[in-house]
Each structure stands twice: as C-alpha cells, then as structure tokens.
C-alpha cells in the first residue's frame, strides 16, 4: 500500500444521504438532534465541514472489516500456545500442563492446545498469525482495570476516557451510519466509547425491531416520526435544544451529553439500523454450519451481516468464562474447543462468500495467567499472553518470541510485544486509519498485513 492510501479526496459539497448529513451535523458536534444547528447553517456548509475532516471512511460492500474477539476473564496463554519444549512449564504445572505428545507444534518450542486443531490448519494454510508475549508495561492484574487498558489502549497509569475503536470512529468515520460499529450481544464494549459515540448492538436480528399492538399502523407511524431526525427547522420547539449562539464557526464539542440526549440518540440509531439489519437477516441465512454455542451464534451473525453488505467496519464479539482459578482443565478445554470450532466455521463462511480477504479477526484477553498452577489446580491472574490474528490477506506465522519462563517479571511472563503495536498495525495497515492520531503516539508497526 502507498502512503497516500488513507487520504481520500474531499468530495463535492452535495448532500449524499440524509443519514450522512444527520450524523455529521448532529453527532459530529456531539449535540442532541434537537439542537437548532439547522437554523444557522445551510446543508451545504455542513456538508463542507464534514468533508474537511480529511479522512473519510470507506463505506459499502467493499471496505475492509475488522472483527475483534474478546476472550473475557484472562485466557491462560500458556495452555493456549504451549511452551512444550520447556521443562519449567511442566514443573510449574504438574497437573494442568498439557502433555508434550498432545501439543500441536508451531515450531520446536511452542505449539497449540490440542483442541485448536482447526486453527493449526489455518496456520499451516497461511491464514493465521500467532503473536507471542503480548502485553504492556507495568501490567495490572485486576480484570476490570486491565480490560480497560486494553479497551482504551492507554498506558497502565493513565485513565483514558474513550475506547480505541471509538477514537477510530471519531477520527475516521464521521458521517457514517451508526452500523459502522456493531457489537454482537446486548452490551456496547468500552472500546467503542467515543466523543461522538456511534455503533449499535444486537444479538437476534429478527427481534431487533419495534413491535406494537395497533394493527392500523398509526402507532408505528408515530413511533417512526418520534425517532426520526428533525430536518425542518419549523418543527423545532424553541425550548427543545441548546443555545444557538455557540454554534456557528467552530462546532462545539465540549457539550456533555445528558442521559436524555444519550437515550434520544440511541433511540434514533436503533430506529435507523433496525430496518437494515432485519432485511439483511431475512435475505441472508447462514451459509455454512456453525457450532451451536454462544460464540458460534455470534460469528454466524457477523457472517450474515457481512454477506448482506452491512456498512460495518468493526464487529465486536466476545467469549466469556476464562477466569480459571479452580480446576482449570475441563473449563479451558471446553473454551478452546468452542473457540476453535467457531473460528473454523467463520473462516469457511468467509471463504465461501469470497470475503475472506476482506476480513481480519483479532483475539485479545485482558491478561494471561501465572506460570505456576495454584493449590486449586487453576491459575491466578498473570500478564503477557498470545493473540491470534486470522484472515485471508494477513501475513501468517509466529510473531515475536515466547517470553522466557526463567526470567519472570514479578512472577509473570514479561511482555515482548506491546498490544498497541498490534492495534497500530491493524489501524494503519488494515483499516488505513492514522494510528498515531487514534492512539496518541506512533507505536512500531508489525508485518502482520
């Protein structure tokens, strides 16, 4: 890719879609939709302001897609990518160590959990990269704080208000549909938090719609009207919005959205996205068979949305249950199986759709676990751990080196690869977004893409 790839010529000042207008004018300014910005600005000046943001997102069916898969609870990295040639591993884990003979070797030192046979296949075919020893300086062992650090890409001693994906949406996706970010499930991940929040979440598209008890359709019309943006200034109540004085020129961004405004915006996003999601879901059933697990369902849904061309740049899915303090083996084995089967199905789906080259799936977990097993045949919170990156167009292989099991940092594996380098690479090379702006500084890029 050339250096200019992420610079797109400002387009001409015409209003492309009402939605685009809507998001740029209202959410771009982080004010509620009833603020009478319309009274002061013509459509064309607003559109020009949107164009000024220099970097526009790719939209539509051809853009590249990032899928972030969170392994929540702190995945035991050492039983995922196993240092099978190291005696320290077996000495530290007499009960829960995976026997050498069962490990699926990636090289002569490390190999995959036996349940990850499908991922081993993807690795061999050149569609999987295994990043070793990923972490950050001064690791925090609290689930919540460490998750926050990963979600916001902050330094360990800094509290960052917005998520790394939210900052990407802020800097590159102004004016995009709210479906630019999709979280599968009922939660919005902290990584989506943004100055101008965007993104929707759903888990059952068939149910992602407003139902009512009025057969005449009158009620549906009222609901629609109430959740549509107000484009005609004459319809605005005088007391609906904020102050007019502060608007012209620089659009204000300091306004703190109230809970009511937040709800109004979410209601509008729900209304705007539900028709689209529902119609895709109707037209695009799952094309390959996915395992009947929560993760399988989530990735199947992502697959259908991709097939239907939802204008989404980032999908977010998660798999929970990794906090294996007690009797780890059966739980972790099941999680590995579910992970493997769901990822293999997703890869097949993308290949069958001809979209494998458009997607990059990245896993992360808030931390790995201690080198040694504990008294309850489980493991406590640790630090550095591996990540997986999967896709049709990625550069495969083992990345980085396995952390030393002899030279530990406060009893834990020391990181050798900062996770923000992975983020930076995904942003710069995959999403073609300026990682330095999004992450606040330039992290070294990897040869992943």
């Amino acid at each position: 890719m050339s250096d200019n790839d992420h610079i797109i010529e400002p387009h001409t000042s015409t209003l492309h879609t009402r939605r685009q207008f809507l998001r740029t004018s209202m959410l771009g300014a982080a004010v509620s939709f009833t603020v009478p910005v319309f009274l002061q600005n013509t459509f064309s000046t607003l559109d020009a302001m949107a164009a000024d943001s220099a970097i526009q997102t790719e939209t539509g069916k051809d853009g590249r897609i990032l899928i972030v898969l969170q392994l929540a609870g702190g995945n035991d990295g050492m039983n995922t990518v196993i240092p099978y040639a190291d005696d320290v591993y077996y000495r530290s884990r007499p009960i829960i160590g995976i026997p050498k003979g069962q490990v699926l070797p990636l090289n002569d030192y490390a190999g995959l959990n036996p349940k990850l046979a499908g991922l081993k296949g993807l690795f061999d075919q050149g569609n999987l990269a295994v990043l070793q020893g990923v972490g950050y300086p001064n690791p925090n062992r609290s689930h919540f704080r460490s998750t926050e650090i990963w979600q916001t890409a902050s330094d360990a001693n800094v509290i960052e208000s917005y998520g790394w994906l939210g900052r990407y949406f802020d800097s590159c996706c102004k004016g995009a549909d709210p479906t630019v970010g999709v979280a599968i499930g009922n939660q919005t991940p902290q990584s989506f938090d943004a100055a101008n929040p965007t993104g929707v979440s759903f888990s059952r598209p068939e149910q992602y719609r407003w139902v009512n008890g009025d057969k005449s359709g009158d009620s549906a019309a009222v609901y629609k009207e109430m959740n549509e943006p107000i484009l005609d200034p004459a319809q605005l109540d005088e007391n609906d919005g904020g102050s007019v004085d502060s608007l012209p020129g620089e659009m204000r961004t300091s306004h703190k959205e109230s809970n009511l405004e937040f709800l109004q915006r979410t209601a509008m996003d729900a209304q705007m996205s539900s028709d689209e999601v529902l119609s895709i879901a109707k037209k695009f059933p799952a094309s390959v068979s996915y395992p009947h697990t929560a993760l399988g369902d989530s990735l199947s849904l992502v697959g259908r949305m991709i097939a239907g061309g939802l204008a989404t740049r980032v999908y977010y899915v998660s798999q929970g249950g990794y906090d294996t303090h007690v009797n780890e083996l059966p739980t972790h084995t099941r999680l590995m199986t579910e992970l493997n089967d769901a990822l293999v199905a997703f890869a097949q789906d993308m290949k069958a759709q001809g979209n494998f080259n458009r997607v990059l799936l990245m896993t992360f977990s808030e931390f790995g676990r201690r080198v040694a097993q504990n008294a309850s045949n489980g493991t406590d919170h640790g630090a550095a751990a591996p990540m997986f990156v999967m896709g049709g167009a990625i550069k495969p292989g083992l990345v980085g080196s396995y952390p030393s099991l002899d030279t530990l940092n406060a009893g834990d594996l020391a990181y050798s690869l900062d996770f923000r380098s992975v983020y930076a690479t995904v942003l710069d090379k995959w999403l073609r977004a300026p990682s330095k702006d999004v992450l606040g500084r330039q992290f070294p890029l990897l040869g992943l893409v």
Partner: protein
Amino acid sequence: MLTPLPANQWDLQKAAHLLNRAGFGGTPDEIKAFCELGIDKAVQTVLDGPDDSTQFPKPTWAQPQNLLQMRQQMATLTPDEKKEMFQEIQKQYRQDDLDLITWWLNRMRYSPNPFREKMTLFWHGHFATSVQKVRDSYLMWQQNELLREHAYGNFSLMVKAISRDPAMLIWLDTRVSQKGHPNENFAREVMELFTIGIGNYTENDVQEGARAFTGYRIDPTDETFRYAPRLHDDSNKTFLGKTGPFTGDDILDIILSQPATARFISKKLWTFYSYEDPDPALVEALASNFRGTSYEIRLLMNTIFRSSEFYSPDAVRTQIKSPVQWVVQTSKLLDSPMPRPLITVNALRQLGQLPFAPPNVKGWDGGRSWITTSTLLYRYNMANFAVGNGLLHIEPVRKPTNPNAAAMPQSYDVRNYNGPDLAKVIPTQVRTDPHRLVDYLCFRLYQDPLTPRDKATFVKYISDHGPNPDDNTLRELLHLMMSTPEYQLT
C-alpha cells in the same frame, strides 16, 4: 454542602423522586399521599419501614443440604445412576433459582418496606455474587438475607459477615485457600471492589492479605461457615504498612480504618441513589459523615435523602432505570401484577440485569451501560407486553456446560397477561380531553411534563382515534409513551 432541603421546597415531583429512588416508585395517589406528609415525615416513613418477613417467608426449598452425605451416597452409585442423580440436582437448582428470583422480585414489588429491598439490591450489586458459579440456590438465598439484614445497618459488620458468607466463599474461592497455597481472589476483590477501591493498595498487599483469609471452610454437613485453624496461615503479614499475625478480620479492620474506604462506599451509594460523578467535595462531606458514625448506613441515607443536592436538577429525572427498576416500577406505575416468572426472568436477562447472576464480581456498571440499541428496543417491546398487547420474544437459555440445550421456546405469545386494569389506571374523567389524558399519563409515567412537540404527537394520536378512545387505543398510547427516552429515566 448536604444542607437539608427547606421544607417549603418539598413538592409532588420531589416526593415522587424520593419514592422512585428510595424504592420503586408509586401511583399518582401514593405520590400525593406521600407528598402530604412533608419531607421530615416522608423520609422517616422511608427509613422506618415495617419488617415484612412474615409476609415473605423463607421459600420451602431454602434448606441446607448435607453435602457430605450426598457425596457418600453418590460414591455407591453406578456411573449411569450418578449421571441421573446429577441431572436431577441440576434440574432442581434451576427450578429453585427461578423461584428465588421471583421471590425477591415479588418482595420488591409488594413489600411495605421497598427501601430495604432497594438497598439489598444495591448491596447485591456491590458484593456481586453469581449463582452461575455458586450453583446453590439455598446459599444464594442465604446471602440475600444477609444483605437484607445488614442493608442499612453497619457496614463494618456487613463486610465481616460477607467474608464468612458461604456463597462468597465459593464465589471468590476463599474456601479452597489455605496456608502455603493462598488464593488471591477474595483478598484482591475485597479491596478493589468491596472497600477501598483500586489505587489504594499494592500487589504485595493483595498477596499478604490473601494469607490472612486462609482456613475459611464450608461445613459439608450443613453448609455453614467453619474456621479451620490448621489451614490458617498465622505467621506475620505486612499489610498496608502494618505488620502482625493478622487474621482476616484484622485485615478488614485495617482496611476500614482507611479514609479511602468511607469515600469509596459513600460515593458508590450517592451514585446509585442520586447521580453519577458527584463533586469531590460532596463525596468528602458524605465520607466524613459516614466515618463519623462508624459506618452506620442508615444515618448516611438519612443525610442523603434530606439533602438539597439529592433534590437538585442534577438528580431529579436524570437516572437511567436499571432493568430491575424498570420491571418493578412499571408494575407499580401501571398498578398491574408482575408478569409470569419466566417472562420477567427472560426479560431481565435480555436487558442485562438478572438478579443472582451479575456479569462478574464488579456487579452491574449501571447508568448508560444499561442502554444499547438492542436493550432499548427490548425495553420498548417489553412495554408493549406490559400494557397487555401480548407477544414478547424470549431468548433460549443456554447453560455453559451444555451449549446445545435450548431449554425454552423462542417466543411467548402470552394472551393471558392482560396488563393494567385500564378503568383503574386511566380514570374516565380524563379520557374525554386528549390534552388532559396525555397530561395525566405524563404524571403517572414520568412525573414530568413532555416537550410540547412530543405531547402534541400523542395528543394527535388520540384525537385521530375519535372522541372516546377504546381500550386498545389507550393501551397503545401507554405503549407509545413508554417507548420513549423519557420513560427510561427516573
């Protein structure tokens, strides 16, 4: 700071605010009667609620089991019999769990002391323990009763009691922690989430503290707490700058002596009852009040409920209802029965707050995290069900251990839930004038006027349906008015 609200500023909206936040709201008549008490009497009524334990007796299944006997019995069985027995137990737990949630939700809905139930809900989110790991409905019930007992008692006593609570011993692995092999889970979370908050201790304090919480066991014959001295590490620990052969209680005393603990708890209480991000000076005032009374929760709540800050524009009508609040308050506002347990439980799961199953030990984040496009639509559709329009989608339940089990049908078309008695909820005299009707429902549903534009929309909807709106139209009007951002606030 925290000066009492002048008595002459007490009005209907403030009375409604206190009812909403201290409990689960009330009907227009209840709000009016409450307002007439005046603020002093109203706060006193809240804090001096009656004991309701005879009205809500212990569920019949809530009895300890002799786990030792069960284990011995199991050992004599064939693998097939064992499997069968195991499945039987699982089935029983699922039933008991459903019953437990229903038991508590009914108590919230019908208790003459909703304040105690709301506080119990707060502490459940604080000492967040999940049946998903504990897998014992009796112990979950017992913990719930423990939280209720201490709900507005003394925080020090509550923390010490919770450190011995069998459900907590399972939840945070204290029951397997022993001398020589301390498990850090409880020691970490008790500081990070239950008392002083992150940033006020080191990793070393976690490791030292963990050695103190050793030897805590559950007696397998009756599921009670048992201290096993031989498993306790009685050597010296250095914890938060002090050294000694500390026990778990000693560790908690050291934590409770830290000013940060009073700040952390009072800020969390303020956030739950009033508004998020309180001014640091306000937190300091609350904390010094709390510390000054040696952690008497009732006294702190009294200060909060009388303070002018609690009734300020930052507080009134600014809080996003939690799912539990939404469900219980809706039933109260519409003066209608609670829907069938399966309906409610599934809705709460969809909306992100299933009691006894918090997502993790941090509890529910609350506030805006309740709302996404999908949960907001689900709330709107739940409103459709609540007004008696039927049809609500139910997610199949999937147990992590058995991913293929789809225990429940995909959707319930429950025509036998009729929703509110409209004759009671919408008096005939307000029905003739659409403006009056909408104003009346605004007070019933929001205790707050709407913007003129939204009000005009609803008035038009009613006007379009002729002079005497029928029940279907009124139901749909309720549904529309609940399918709004305004209805999500309290």
